[in-house]
């Protein structure tokens, strides 16, 4: 899980490098807290998919809108 968390944060930092990640709780909405628009969020999901090899169907994308949601989703499929 620590590796997944680090990977997720690394990908988020590519998209929103200026955000304060110390204030990001694991259950916070990434789109709201990091000001990710639809293009940003799609890019995040694409990056995570590429890094993990897990394809994320469109209907599942909202599950990756938090660190804890993304970790739970990925752990089930890895």
């Amino acid at each position: 899980m620590a590796d997944l968390r680090a990977m997720l944060l690394e990908e988020l930092r590519h998209i929103a490098p200026e955000a304060d990640y110390d204030l990001l709780d694991d259950d916070d909405s990434l789109r709201d807290e990091l000001d990710l628009d639809s293009m940003d969020f799609l890019k995040f999901v694409q990056s995570v998919s590429t890094r993990t090899g897990v394809d994320v169907p469109e209907l599942d994308m909202p599950q990756l809108d938090s660190i804890e949601g993304a970790i739970a989703y990925l752990e089930e499929r890895l």
Partner: protein
Amino acid sequence: MADFLMPSLGADMDAATLVEWTVKPGDTVKRGDVVAVVETDKGAIEIESFEDGVVSELLVEPDAKVPVGTPLARIGDATPTSSGGTPPPQQPVPEATRPEAPVPGTAPETRRPEAPAPAPAPETVPTPAAATPKPTPAATTHGLRASPAAKARARELGIDLSTIQGSGPDGAVVLTDVPGEATRAAAPNRPPAADPAEAMRRAVAAAMSRSKREIPHYYLGTDIDMTEAMAWLEKHNAGLSVNDRVLYAALLIRAVAMAARKYPQFNGTYEGDRFHEPDGIHVGVAVSLRTGGLVAPVIRDADKLNVDEVMAHLTKIVERARNGRLRNSDMAGATITITNLGGRGVPVVYPVIIPPQVAIVGFGRIADRPWVVDGEIAVRPVMNATLAADHRVTDGHPGGLFLRAIERFLAKPHKLEGDA
């Protein structure tokens, strides 16, 4: 032999500072190759060659501020250079017969600089893979790979690029890697760098002030049931991998483009006291920058692209805008613009027209709302669309028809698919 002129970079931008050349005399260039990087109030812009040829002479030194239309270089016929890399002998052309280098990305009748809404790449420009500039010594710094915008910003701040950890492809330094607050290295001969955010703000302020000063806006809004559009999108994306997925923004762009085809008086520019109908429908897409400010790169011929192509173009220009790698061909030639603030949770947008265009459409968030369906109350995903249009060109009646056309296209999204 032709003069390579400083191209139009958008309205209210009539000059730019040359940051660096990415070619040298003797280099062969193809149309669409990046040949230089310039700095504007809206950030660094990559300048593309508009023809094939061999660079014979560079006429401007870096750090020079160059007005639009000024010769930057001379490009000769695409003949092989000598083995030593020396350019072919210059063939002076009499002034009367010297061909005028076209301004890429602009319609023939709108040569003057346009609003700072970036424009999509012209249809005839090679694909991004083919347009990749040849590597030259000037393309790297101390052997490091860095985007032109990153190099420009680092140079401006006096930062050694080798001290920056790159986050781009293969460790390349991109704009967002360059620290915003950095101690400037001693650069006694360089004037103090302007704050890029402040410069961007001034550019936006100039364009929006001009818009409100010159354009008599009228506004019309409508609520659109997005049930069919979202269902179509879900079905379209169902079999696609995440890398090929289409966002609903692509449908909005197609809907506006198709409506503009039906009502061309909303697609064009107003200059010289009259409306000019352009050579196509080129939709500007407002993109907010994480560093602050706004650009509007363009998707050309959006009415002729299918939804997947629109999405591919949208992805490319947003990426370029956010990485500070917009090209001159992205920056000019928009004939109508959209701004979508739905992702920010805004219910209604009252947009401001980007001069010299005559219309802009704002889209708000999609939210479940009570809606009457066959006489009964249902819950439907509803989105507001607001048209701002130039009253010198159109009135409320055609404006209403135009908005209704957008609504009807989104209600029947199969009409937006385009040819595969």
